[in-house]
């Protein structure tokens, strides 16, 4: 719906997620990128990305997250970082670390890279490589001493699910040994490819219950040393998450070919058209594009949500999840206990027997 003169002014976005490529050496079972990846030859040019980063800074965006796929697959990465940093953005890179030599890292830090996020698939090499669909674990471990030579903050991200949640304590101990500045413990989110492996990855209720005090104890123990943030597993909640901080409220994502989206998974919602940064500037897209206005505010919400004070906190939850689970993008997020479809989640929490893993490609 178009923004009219009665609409409240749109607050400026806080972060830009730039999926600069979908090419990736890993094939993680829990990959949340879309089923259909964008092809390398269709990617935005160096000049397109540089223009986008400058427009982002002008729009008031503070944080740039370079991600993918694997950002290192772009040969122009240092040049992109340098432009983003010069424009005033805080530059973060989410990477597998595969192919990151000391020499290349030096060039990226020199260009202005400030923070790097490295995820681990498990603590044991065999299962970690199994989950990642490639032999990446040893390379990631070998990167840590190199990272520490540079004035760069780094986050270790532990991605957890049924296959590794029983080893959470030892997994956290591994992360502590690596001594990052930040530690994230993130449950798999069931979007994109991950949805295909949901019955394999979905933890049991017992696993989730056991993990919570372990995480709380780690937070307490690491206070002042490593900042720990944990993402609760959606499907086990009674109220939805404030997905992406609310639709079109805080963040903008640009995919490798330049489509600007309000969230990572938004392409699953039918009839949403994403304007492209090749055709429009970021300010117009943020303020006026139909996709960013589609679920802004509360006019799309059900009566249940409209009457609920939580709408100011969770902004109606996740639209992509509502669509994926109910077939209706305007439905109440089924994570919410007031959703008529909440029972569905209870069924999905029960793991199915011996599902087979599916990797991309």
């Amino acid at each position: 719906m178009p923004v009219n003169s009665q609409s409240p002014p749109v607050a400026k976005p806080f972060s830009l997620i730039a999926e600069i490529t979908h090419r990736c050496p890993l094939h993680c079972l829990y990959c949340s990128n879309p089923l259909e990846l964008q092809r390398g030859e269709e990617e935005l040019s160096t000049g397109d990305w540089k223009r986008v980063f400058e427009q982002a800074a002008q729009l008031g965006i503070l944080h740039l997250h370079l991600t993918g796929g694997e950002p290192l697959a772009r040969k122009d990465l240092a040049e992109l970082i340098s432009t983003a940093r010069a424009a005033g953005l805080y530059v973060n890179m989410i990477t597998s670390g595969v192919g990151l030599s000391e020499e290349r890292l030096a060039a990226l830090v020199d260009a202005g890279l400030e923070h790097l996020q490295l995820s681990f698939q498990d603590l044991d090499e065999t299962t970690a490589n199994h989950i990642a669909g490639t032999r990446a674990h040893a390379l990631k471990l070998a990167l840590i001493p190199i990272l520490k030579k540079f004035p760069l903050a780094f986050t270790v991200n532990l991605v957890v699910h049924r296959m590794n949640l029983d080893r959470l304590e030892a997994f956290i101990a591994l992360a502590e040994d690596l001594a990052p500045d930040r530690l994230e413990i993130a449950h798999v989110q069931y979007y994109g490819w991950a949805l295909k492996n949901r019955s394999l990855l979905m933890p049991t209720q017992e696993q989730v219950d056991r993990s919570l005090p372990i995480i709380e104890a780690a937070k307490e123990r690491l206070k002042g040393k490593i900042h720990l943030e944990a993402v609760f597993p959606d499907y086990f909640g009674s109220f939805p998450k404030a997905c992406v901080g609310g639709w079109g409220r805080q963040m903008m994502l640009i995919d490798p070919v330049g489509q600007a989206m309000p969230c990572h998974a938004a392409a699953v919602i039918p009839d949403l058209h994403f304007d492209n940064v090749r055709d429009h500037d970021l300010s117009w897209i943020w303020q006026s594009s139909p996709a960013f206005n589609r679920f802004r505010g509360d006019s799309w919400m059900s009566d249940t949500c409209l009457a609920c004070p939580r709408k100011e906190r969770d902004f109606g939850g996740c639209r992509c999840q509502a669509f994926l689970l109910t077939g209706d993008a305007e439905a109440i997020d089924p994570v919410c206990q007031y959703s008529p479809d909440h029972e569905l989640l209870k069924l999905l929490r029960v793991p199915s027997e011996n599902p087979l893993p599916m990797w991309r490609g």
Binding site: F14, L62, H63, G88, Y90, N92, E114, H115, Q117, P151, L152, A153, F154, T155, D181, R182, K223, G224, K225, I226, H227, E229
Partner: protein, 86 residues
Amino acid sequence: MDLNATPRLAAGCRLHPTEAVMLIPEGTLKLQGPARDILAHLDGKHSVAAIVDELLKQYEGVDRDDIQQDVLSLLDRMEQRGVVRV
């Protein structure tokens, strides 16, 4: 933290060039009151005592003990959060 410590900002943390905001990995911290002015003095060389001296010049007529208390309490909180290192 004591008055002889020489704090600095942790890697990956910096002040926004104009706004009262600290940019940190995956987020920002809003800075209230004199917090931005205090943090702008951290360079890993000047002691907390020297930073208090500088702030006294900046905020004329303010009591030294008050400023010192503000500085120490802010730096302790920021150290806990991993934003300031000694």
